[in-house]
Symmetry: C2
Subunit: 579 residues, 2 copies
């Protein structure tokens, strides 16, 4: 019989003993894990691989374990077709393959550090039991935040966190003629759900309280995405508060009430954000961090000995700033779960996670959007002296079929020349450059080093000068004062103040699409027409991506123009409607 | 009139004067560039942007400038449909947009450093002229190596270096019923050409002298690619010398003669490799490096003052070893061209390229293959103590449609734990991880840092634990002695010596595909059947990717087995025929 961890009256691991019969098992301790999704099961499985003699038990409220929460929007949208595809493993798999007992339908209600025990309630029987541990892992995750607004208890209002949530949305969509949906919250999950609903043919409105969707991105990027999504047929209301839900007369949501009036909704999804599940930790005296998540050191140890926290319930350190942050990401959950699994089982060679960058990525229709490190706004707030560039470059050789422009926004510190962050967006492959930037930032690269990376080049994969390298070169030029940029965000204001926007593309290109308020002087006619431009006015040069406007900038400068700038990212990155 | 650089009797830049009328041009020097493809035009354009007052002249033998040489195989295969798509710019574009004069059909025949002049022969008239320079840029590129073998002058034998070469191949394919093609040389270009010919329906044989295709890759990787290409219908003969070409009786190639007998060929492509074009440099006393290419310092300066070399004719430094190497890559040509363009025009703030990694990538049918840094073989030769892992991981979430396994081979130094190199291959996205590795190697990352990168995760782009992170974790486990690996290359030998190969996948998986000589004991039956295994024999465990065999390894170890190892990369990376 293995070391006991429960009060009598329940089956124990005889199956495991059966499987391992004849083999001496070391009872070097019991690891109890609370939570069975990413971090919890990762910690358990890794602890097992590190130490075959441990007793490892996972308790979870849910029926499912180890499921792919990030796949739920795609399950709603039918891209992932079967619920079972999202289930990485079943509880019995852990038992049979890893000698890990997973007990579902159990809620941890109190941690008693003095006894090294956890009071656990069986959600079926209501019975309370005490589980003892040598090492305890909190992997309690996060829960959707549900604001206290009128009508939130109406039917057909959902959150999307568990498989059962997504299944409920799917059932409603399958069983009823849902015409209008409202998604509340313009973060990653909200956008993914809105996109998937929209692709299913449901008229979808996205409502966001703050002035922009994707609040963790810079405004110029968010506006670009917003403009794209509107062109795809999504209604987007930003800066709009949801005040309640209207009953359709049958106890179901009929409309979402907002500061801008009611929005018809047969289905509403609340995706305002998630909050770390920290009640258990707080109540037993475990310290929380400034973000509200559980404070941990780099080894994922909480403030109480032998209690670890991993995954979405735990705080992280931002690698660049060294400050506590809370980025509840599946990738981080796996990493912190693994570190925890090693540390609860290893006596020496403990593992640690130095920090994270807040790297994120999202696919919305054909648009891909990613970021890593600091945004321009964050860098400014944190006291850096940030310089930025906005550079569109094709993701493959310009002649290779299927190539698409992607826009790279780099943020660097003027003084140290260190790369601080990047945001990359476009219909092409943005996952590659964002990972290059994440790697570079982690290893404290300067923009000069970035520009000289020996990246893989062949026409199906990259232009000879990859987007990362071109963007770094543009940054180097800008830091050297070789040109001045105008952000598309300040364009309207500058034009109102008398600046002249000169589009130097060809007449044909200009005819197809142009920025309101611009005039067209093709690059090759610039010398001819330069005399007609007023040297006393600010002249902003624009082209498709920025290269021709740089040439035009240098030409006009040589002609004696001094009040010059380039529209950053050209018409490609322009985040408003064009003509 | 601008500063003269020619003897009298030719038109000068009056057009430019016309365009820039009224503007004072500084004649601060003349930059003369020899070569008009990637590095030459890049150097010229960058020099212009740095300094509007320079006189910049490019001379080239070819009719085309600034063309995409790397796109030629795709032009042959019809993926790139029009010749003009490969032409980035025309000579007149440089004149009109950048005030750079490009003179085509001119061959530089002698450099006279004492006079700072170059003797140039007009290839149409045969006339010789002297061009003077303040700074000279050699961007003479590289040429295909053509061995002196019998019949090489027959018709329908091609190299693929210039647009005219590819056009000639296309004309032959269009005009004649070409059934059999032979490509000689299994490097990147040879493989790309063979793939494109094969996709066009031509029965194609690839002949390579050395024992493997892709000689710059490790053997296990090359064999995998070879196995894949054979399954796609390509005939591949390695370790086979070409001794001559047979006349079909009409002055055309009819067969390629090899040490293994004749191979029928209506078309032959010689792609044995390229050699740097260094005659001009050598003859005027410019020092060549140990690789045979022009020796340059990090600022691309040759041994003679005011003469620079960039692109394929110049040597590089390997960033890891600090030793001279020669990697003629389009990406490097662009970088060295840019550095040169800055340095021929800037008085201060000179630019430099510290070195390269030999990063390369190739697409062959649906298979993508990439490498960066040192191979296992190179690392061993250079005195490192290399450890390697071979790890298949899906390129996206396992439940996201279209995900594919990619195999990561990492090479790290046991002592320093520094990442030395990576080779990545599979039908999924390998360009992203190879660029992550290239970035990490450049910034001297350890495998421990690699495992903790905060890479972008969302189901359409990556699994929660990306391939790079999983491979780094496996490397960390291996460096810690947690498991022993067996390379697929040594498997046959080990089996012959009495080792037992135990495949721990399910019976269903084993039924579909198995490694010759293996036995099947599914993981869940291992405890039951462990007693039937001989503890005195070496037991090699295999599964699909390596995870279940790691679990099996730990189980058998706990059962007292000591002579255990895991088949690296499982059946996924197995580079030979399966049953």
């Amino acid at each position: 019989m293995l070391q006991g961890y429960k009060q009598p009256g329940q089956t124990d691991c005889c199956l495991i003993d059966e499987e391992f019969r004849g083999v001496k098992k070391l009872s070097s301790g019991t690891v109890l894990v609370i939570g069975g999704v990413a971090a919890g099961t990762k910690a358990a499985a890794k602890a097992r691989r590190e130490n075959p003699g441990l007793k490892i038990v996972v308790i979870t409220k849910d029926r499912h374990v180890s499921y792919a929460g990030c796949g739920l929007p795609y399950y709603i949208g039918g891209i992932v077709q079967e619920e079972k595809e999202l289930l990485v493993r079943q509880p019995e798999d852990f038992l049979l393959d890893h000698d890990i007992e997973i007990i579902t339908g159990q809620e941890a209600v109190r941690i008693i550090p003095g006894e090294k025990a956890v009071m656990v309630k069986d959600l079926t029987t209501g019975e309370l039991q005490k589980f003892f541990y040598d090492k305890l892992v909190l992997a309690t995750g996060a829960s959707p935040f549900i604001p206290s607004i009128k009508g939130k208890e109406l039917a057909n209002i959902f959150t999307v966190r568990a498989i059962s949530d997504a299944a409920a949305v799917k059932r409603l969509l399958a069983g009823r003629n849902i015409q209008d949906a409202v998604v509340i919250g313009g973060g990653m999950i909200g956008l993914e759900v809105a996109e998937n609903l929209s692709r299913l043919g449901v008229k979808t409105t996205l409502i966001e309280l703050s002035p922009q969707i994707l609040p963790s991105y810079d405004l110029d990027v968010a506006l670009y995405v917003q403009n794209y999504l509107r062109e795809k047929g999504l209604s987007i209301l930003t800066g709009t508060a949801v005040t309640g839900f209207e009953d359709n007369g049958r106890g179901e949501v009929g409309a979402v009430l907002t500061g801008a009036g009611p929005v018809k909704a047969d289905l509403a999804v609340l995706s305002i954000g998630v909050r770390p599940n920290v009640d258990l930790a707080r109540e037993c005296g475990i310290q929380l961090g400034p973000t509200g998540a559980i404070a941990v050191n780099k080894m994922m140890e909480t403030s109480i000995k032998d209690i670890y926290a991993a995954g979405d319930c735990a705080e992280n350190i931002n690698l660049i700033t060294g400050r506590p942050v809370w980025y509840p990401m599946g990738s981080t959950a796996n990493k912190t779960g693994r570190v925890t699994g090693i540390n609860v089982s290893a006596k020496e060679n403990k593992d640690s996670l130095e920090g994270v960058l807040g790297t994120s990525i999202i696919k919305l229709f054909e648009l891909n959007v990613a970021k890593t490190g600091l945004t321009e706004r964050e860098a400014g707030k944190l006291g850096y002296d940030p310089e930025t560039v906005l550079v569109p470059v094709p993701d493959r050789a310009h002649y290779y079929p299927g190539n698409r422009l992607i826009i790279t926004k780099l943020v660097a510190d003027r003084k140290s020349r260190r790369l601080l962050g990047g945001q990359i967006y476009g219909e092409g492959a943005v996952d590659k450059p964002v990972d290059i930037l994440a790697t570079a930032i982690t290893l404290e690269a300067s923009v000069d080093q970035l520009a000289k990376l020996d990246l893989a080049y062949a026409p199906p994969f990259s232009p000879a000068m990859s987007s990362t390298i071109v963007a770094a070169n543009v940054m180097i030029n800008k830091l050297a004062g070789k040109f001045k940029g105008t952000s598309p965000l300040s364009l309207k204001e500058k034009l109102a103040a008398g600046a002249v926007l000169v589009d130097v593309r060809t007449a044909e290109e200009y005819f197809v699409r142009a920025i309101p308020g611009s005039i067209n002087i093709p690059l090759r006619e610039l010398a001819l027409h330069a005399g007609s431009l007023d040297k006393n006015k600010e002249i902003i040069l624009a082209c498709k991506v920025g290269l021709r406007s740089y040439t035009a900038f240098l030409k006009l400068k040589s002609f004696g123009f001094n009040n010059l700038s380039i529209l950053e990212g050209g018409i490609t990155a322009y985040p408003f409607e064009t003509e």
